[in-house]
């Protein structure tokens, strides 16, 4: 990875003055992970723990007629069997976002499902649950439950679901419409803009249902104590919102404080853990049995159940003038939520917000419709709508460039929003962007000018054809002003001068524990190795909406920065008397805390250790003792967008349709890199996920049974090491005033551009446009065979994927 500094804008101290920030330090949790010592939910051993399993409906749409649990009940070792009759009838959404959203977006979070149900709307719906002394008995018991179903006619395609005579999946959702709205930030008059335009481009496409594929499958433990308080242990990306949601929507007899939620080490999230998983049923079983219960799931259940990206069928229309100025953008989205709404409406809205907001344009119109089908539930996934949208919009922009014979980079340069203009989050001004620099530096490093041969180049003959393409994006660093974007951190100093830092976001592998510790070390003066981060226990951590939306480094980082500054302040304050005892007269302002030592700026040889100060504060027998501690908070009121440009070079085998990515480069507008190693890890992981999204990953649904046919890690074909191209990352650094040390978010962006850039590169190579993801061999070949003119018709048996 290369870091490029835009020094003319730099407002913060250069790195050489910083001890920790900007350095590739080891994150604190990594050593445990290489020894197998890290404890995930399934690794927890609790005495008396019993095992829970669920019975899923084998039909895509059915009503339970009768259920017989008697055989299962008589199996020795079975502790409890619950059916839909034993579960609360409250409806809730897996998505916990309802608790963090403003009212206008709130409808997008319909509360539409039950823990156990007699009306099964997809194969992931559960009709019964078993708890038994061990997993083997639990599975045998599940096997012995007899259920008689009234099988109903299902609908798997969102367009068929919208037809007047389609089966009605939810009685309160007419025509299966779960959600519909004009985008709240629509402006101007697109009709006029299109009437006045020199050129118009129309493009439509649909993304696939990419699975999150967190390697750790879902699992949850629940245990009640004698006071009726419940402890939940599960891999949650947002336990605070989770307990609010659980108490508010599911268990009306529990209050927020009645739930203690622990998140141990998490085996990947990518957005799927931003929701309730098996926790509600674990709580129900724990309550029923009075014992600690663990509920587990299988990879197959993950595939047939929850969750994946929402397939968004999008149409983009662009109006532009001859000089390439975009004067109107229209975007229509029809999304397939699956059987329940979850995050589908919000991801569709966010898609729109990101794509409509990337370019400066006075006439914007967006419309979203989200439809229920009898397919697995879809949800938020890294990028949260942005990757889904970029794939369509960024191809449309290229089509516009081609029509006007303008270079793809040039047309984007002419239209992107500049600093001081309205940002994509319309009520705010765009305070900081280095997107242009990302394009410029990225194209230089990629060799764009040599590789892109213009729109009318002669296509060479031969089996293997090469092409290049690019794409740009803007993404949030937290959804301030929209979601509840605040976070708080606490720090306390131990008697040995080491510190505990308490933060709320959970570590799913993204590296947040390391990055915030670096910030804390830099600003408090306590050495990095001496700061131990604590997270993952809602009884200890402060409220926070969880790890998502690339928010943690920005929002949590700022909270930690505020907290560490206070600690630094208190240490210096306390140091004065210690210096006085040694006959050194100092003023607080002149003191510096560094590497666990306090010294006057003017006299760095005279040091007092933080250890001594902290010790004396705690073990103070004469005066009123108190441990050095502080809390810091931060409230974000804007999106603080980060940006990225992505460049891809591909080779297409025109005989088989296989596309190989040879090279991929991303240039990211990051503000400042807190830890280059962690940032690069995120970027690489994101790019490879994006590559899977572009070329490999989809979801094949049996059109009669509704079963996901490729429900294993083998048949789903996630990217393996063999798929990884030459990857390069550029960090365009230019500290952003509001970020901690100038940092902006980076976690999600990497996954957004690859599909769009690769699709554009495929066009450059073979002259056909990709309308549906993934650009798998048979689709590419089908398009090639028809010269790109004729799109094969009919759904491809891949959920919702019309070519």
């Amino acid at each position: 990875m290369q870091i490029l500094r835009q020094s003319e804008h730099t407002t913060k101290p250069q790195d050489d003055e910083l001890l920790y920030v900007g350095k590739s330090l080891q994150k604190p949790d990594v050593a445990q992970k290489v020894t197998g010592q890290a404890i995930y939910t399934d690794d927890i051993r609790i005495s008396g723990l019993i095992e829970g399993r669920l019975l899923h409906c084998p039909h895509p749409f059915a009503k339970v007629k009768a259920i017989d649990t008697s055989k299962a009940k008589s199996l020795p070792g079975v502790t409890a069997i619950l059916t839909y009759q034993d579960a609360p009838q409250n409806k809730f959404s897996r998505s916990t976002m309802a608790e963090a959203l403003p009212s206008f977006a709130y409808n997008g979070e319909r509360q539409d499902q039950k823990i156990l149900t007699d009306i099964c709307r997809y194969r992931g719906d559960c009709v019964a649950a078993v708890a038994a002394e061990n997993i083997y008995v639990a599975e045998q018991a599940i096997d012995l439950i007899d259920v008689e179903y009234d099988v109903l006619e299902p609908v798997f395609d969102p367009f068929q679901a919208l037809e007047p005579n389609a089966p009605q999946i939810h009685s309160d959702a007419k025509n299966n419409i779960a959600f519909e709205m004009d985008h709240p930030f629509n402006v101007g008059d697109t009709k006029q803009a299109f009437a006045d335009a020199d050129v118009i481009v129309d493009f439509s496409g649909v993304n696939s249902r990419q699975k999150h594929l967190h390697m750790e499958t879902d699992s949850a433990i629940a245990q009640f104590d004698e006071n009726g308080r419940v402890t939940i242990i599960s891999p949650s990306q947002g336990p605070h919102l989770g307990k609010k949601h659980l108490s508010e929507r599911v268990f009306s007899d529990l209050e927020d404080g009645d739930i203690r939620w622990l998140s141990p080490t998490i085996g990947g999230g990518f957005g799927a853990r931003l929701a309730l998983g098996l926790e509600p049923i674990a709580v129900l079983l724990a309550r029923k049995t009075g014992k600690p219960v663990r509920v587990t799931s299988t990879r197959e259940e993950d595939f047939n159940g929850y969750a994946s990206r929402t397939d968004q069928h999008q149409t983009i229309r662009l109006a532009a003038l001859n000089d390439g100025t975009i004067t109107g953008i229209e975007q229509y989205i029809i999304s397939d939520a699956g059987a329940y709404l979850s995050h589908s409406a919000t991801t569709s809205l966010v898609n729109m917000q990101k794509s409509l907001g990337l370019f400066r344009c006075d006439n914007v119109y967006g419309h979203v419709k989200v439809v229920y089908t009898n397919t697995p539930v879809t949800a938020g996934f890294r990028g949260y709508g942005n990757a889904e949208g970029a794939f369509v919009l960024q191809q449309a922009i290229d089509m516009l460039a081609e029509k006007l014979a303008i270079d793809p980079i040039e047309i984007r340069s002419r239209n992107i929003r500049k600093e001081g203009e309205q940002s994509f989050f319309l009520p705010c001004v765009l305070e900081h962007t280095r997107l242009q620099e990302c394009m410029d530096e990225g194209s230089k490093a990629f060799g764009w000018n040599k590789k892109f041969k213009g729109w009318n180049r002669d296509k060479s003959q031969g089996r293997f054809q090469r092409g290049v393409g690019m794409s740009i994006l803007n993404h949030a660093s937290g959804a301030g002003g929209f979601l509840l974007e605040h976070s708080s951190a606490v720090m306390k100093i131990q008697a040995d001068g080491s510190a505990n830092l308490v933060i709320s976001p959970c570590e799913m592998g993204q590296g947040i524990l390391g990055a915030v510790t670096q910030i804390a070390a830099e600003l408090s003066g306590i050495p990095y190795e001496k700061i131990r981060v604590v997270t993952g226990d809602t009884d200890i951590t402060l409220f926070d909406i969880g790890s998502h939306a690339s928010r943690s480094i920005f929002v949590v980082g700022n909270a930690v920065a505020n907290c560490a500054k206070k600690i630094n302040d208190i240490i210096r304050e306390c140091a004065i008397t210690h210096f006085e005892k040694r006959q050194v007269k100092v003023k607080k302002e002149d003191l510096i805390v560094q590497g666990g030592e306090v010294f006057p700026k003017t006299n760095p040889e005279t040091t007092i250790s933080v250890r001594e100060i902290a010790h004396d504060e705690i073990y103070n027998f004469t005066e009123i003792g108190s441990q050095i501690s502080a809390s810091g908070a931060y409230l974000s009121t804007s999106h603080h967008p980060n940006h990225q440009a992505g460049f891809a070079e591909v080779e297409v085998d025109t005989e088989t349709g296989h596309v190989t990515v040879l090279k991929y480069l991303a240039a990211h507008d990051i503000g400042r890199t807190i830890n280059p190693l962690l940032v690069e890890s995120q970027m690489q992981g994101g790019a490879v996920q994006g590559l899977g999204f572009a070329l490999k990953e989809d979801y094949v649904l049996d059109q009669t049974t509704g079963e996901v046919l490729n429900d294993t890690l083998l048949t789903y074909t996630a990217p393996t090491v063999m798929d990884v191209p030459e990857l390069k990352n550029l960090m365009i650094e230019d500290p952003y005033n509001h970020g901690p040390f100038g940092a902006k978010g980076v976690g999600e962006a990497g996954v957004v551009n690859p599909a769009a850039a690769i699709a554009n590169a495929i066009y450059d190579a073979i002259g056909v446009r990709i309308h549906s993801l993934p650009a798998s061999p048979e689709k590419v070949l089908a398009m090639l065979q028809s010269g790109g003119r004729e799109m094969p018709n009919g759904a491809s048996h891949v959920s919702g994927q019309r070519l």
Partner: protein, 310 residues
Amino acid sequence: MGRVLLPFDYYEPQSISDAIQLSRDSFGTYLAGGCTLVPALRRRERRDSCLISINKIEGLNEFYAHPKKGLTVGARVHAATLLPDIWAGKRFAALHEAIEQLYPPHIGNMGSIVGNLCSAIPYYDLPTAAMALNAEIHTTGLNGKRIIPLESFYLDTSKNALHDHELATHAFCPPPQPDSGSCFKKIYRSRRTTYDSHKINAAASIAFDQDRQKIQYARIVLGSWYFRPHRYQKAEDLLKNQVPSFDLFTEAASIVLEDLKPITDMEWVEKTRFAQAKVLLRDTIAQAASRAKSRQDPFEDASQIIQNTK
């Protein structure tokens, strides 16, 4: 769809006759490495109530590859055992290559070759490769020993020609002709409608006449298309007595396509699948022929292919 397996009875006989006896008494299923059986049991696709492990039986461990004597693989021999063997790589390249490309590679350390062949799963690779090498299955059953050519071994998906209680003791491939070569290739992500690994595979073996000018013998096999791999005699005949050329191989591939029936209901998927099968067959035949001609060491190009297919 379970997280763990349901209980079953389990036996570990020490001899072939004990195994057959146990199988008769308990109607058990033979268990080798379990790579096919265990996942299927967990997914509740199978519900065998008794497994008879063959892993303690002496004499099923024979492994032998020789250019003049052929290839013998006992029922307990794991696939990866073949990999370091120089003759297996040189003279039985198609099978060697199929094993080298087993994905994930760990499977080669756990699954047996005979178990793979006995599974009769339509999208497995080893049957295709072994058929190109004229493999046969040697068995012992209630009525003594039999030899079943692989070509008549498959009756249906998950159904092979073994009688009840009959145990496959080893697989055998006859020695190849002197100036011959074989090859195996697969294309991942070639979609069809039913559940499979989305691939097609092909294998070929080609032998030249003494002057190494004309093709004297050819076996062409396409797998993962129907429930079992098939040979395509018309295409084989076309190649005989011909001087090899790219056009000839293309024509042979086209002839195979003429015999293929569509298996999906979608025209465009069918079209692309046919196109991919054609490329696959052409390239497989071409490589087998080039090996026959040059006797190039297959170790090198096999790893090249892994790189290309992943």
